[in-house]
Point group: C2
Chain length 236, copies 2
DNA sequence: CGGCAACTTGAAGGAAATCAACGTTAGTGG
DNA sequence: CCACTAACGTTGATTTCCTTCAAGTTGCCG
């Protein structure tokens, strides 16, 4: 594939990109590395960084509790949000030696850290483990492609609708109410994720609200009133 | 990560995404599956499909010669170009059982097909092989993220500039002239890849030409006259 | 040479960004 | 508990960039 790096090397990159809702039961069997649950610090306060782009990737993280925002700062000063990670998601299982993005806690976050050396060893000794990592990477690639497609072709309304539906679906997977979506991220986070400005995010949500498609009981939560309409809009 | 599928299931997805230039020497050691080079048809004419989205993914492909365009057709009738694949690139090494996009030859194409069963077997028996696949997936994820970032934040000019530079860099990697970029794809292919219309692609190339940054000796090739300017524009 | 597909160019329209206020919420300290 | 403040969110007016629509033009293949 074509590496669309502007300058020869401003953008090294690669890692993970998952995204479930708090309390997700994650039907995938827990990654089989429990013996390694390490002694590294594992609780973070809101807006605290877990690591920065370029840091040595010495560990993988499994999100236990809370929501994490993965982002990159661009040379022009803009910020791009790569992904949001929820409980059950894994960060940093890919191969490159250093982090390809920064990670910030959006809420209080607890993670379990798994040393990379342990990962390497398990790849060597357990073929099933390697296969599982490959599936994870594959799934992440799939979702990144979906996101790409969304940004390449869709209107602001379609992007927001798809975003809300994705969060709703995550709730459903986690067994919580899919109509009641919690937004731990700010409008800026959402905008930087969807390639929109905060004004457009806000305006579009207001528009959905006026149409009766959603309600906004608080700024940090959305009630989906008409899922079908949201699906239609998300189609493009 | 958040799956931005509009409706619960319109977009299953996942596979690969590579992109070198014809004749690329690919410094990565050839994937170690030569014993399996199979007896399946391996030459395709321009605009012939290698496979369609949803087909059983029974084989991986290594591009030997020519350029392949990976694309998806959207429910609204639009087309999204996922990636371009060049000699040395691998397609379909990810885990899902079916193709997540269609693949079409842009030029005369030769591929080597490797049965998935052989891949599976090698994952079980050779840890190094699994690690290598993981690296491939990781690299592909990295490049998809770069592309995503490009579409999320950049202007038409920046996207085109980044695209041309990426092709140029590929030439450099392949040992051919990085100033002389061959465009085997049409303006429509480029537009569908960069999330732009053919008119915008054409206009933007014309503008670069008027500024003296590039020359267009034919519609299918670009001469880069001022790489530094192109880099500046690509920055955003 | 003719015909068709790809490409280019121009003019008009629209969607989102930008610029600018204003409202709301939450957190702090009196 | 309340007042103050700062960050976050909303809304409106204007501008910009890209799309859309509509002709041309080029270039390739019969």
């Amino acid at each position: 594939m074509l590496a669309l790096t502007a300058t020869p090397d401003y953008g090294r990159d690669a890692a993970t990109n998952v995204y479930p809702m708090p309390g997700r039961p994650h039907r995938d069997a827990p990654i089989e590395a429990d013996p390694f649950s390490a002694a590294m610090p594992s609780v973070y306060a809101p807006r605290e960084d877990l690591f920065l782009e370029g840091d040595d990737a010495t560990h993988m993280c499994e999100v236990i509790e809370g929501v994490i925002c993965a982002y990159r700062l661009l040379p022009d000063g803009h910020r791009h949000v790569v992904s949001f990670y929820f409980p059950g998601d894994l960060i940093g299982y890919c191969c490159s030696g250093c982090q390809s993005f920064s990670a910030q806690a959006l809420t209080r976050v607890r993670v379990r850290r798994i040393p990379r050396s342990a990962i390497s060893q398990m790849i060597e000794t357990r073929p099933g483990f390697a296969r599982r990592l490959l599936e994870l990477a594959s799934g992440e690639l799939m979702m990144t492609r979906e996101h790409l497609l969304c940004l390449a072709a869709k209107s602001a309304e379609a992007r927001l609708a798809a975003f809300l539906l994705a969060l709703s679906r995550r709730n459903a997977d986690a067994g919580t109410d899919p109509k009641q979506v919690f937004l731990p991220m700010t409008r800026l986070d959402i905008g930087d994720y969807l390639g929109l400005t905060i004004e457009t995010v806000s305006r579009t949500l207001s528009k959905f609200k006026r149409s009766g498609i959603i309600a906004l009981p608080r700024t940090t939560s959305v009630l989906i009133r008409d899922e079908a309409a949201l699906c239609d809009i998300a189609q493009s």
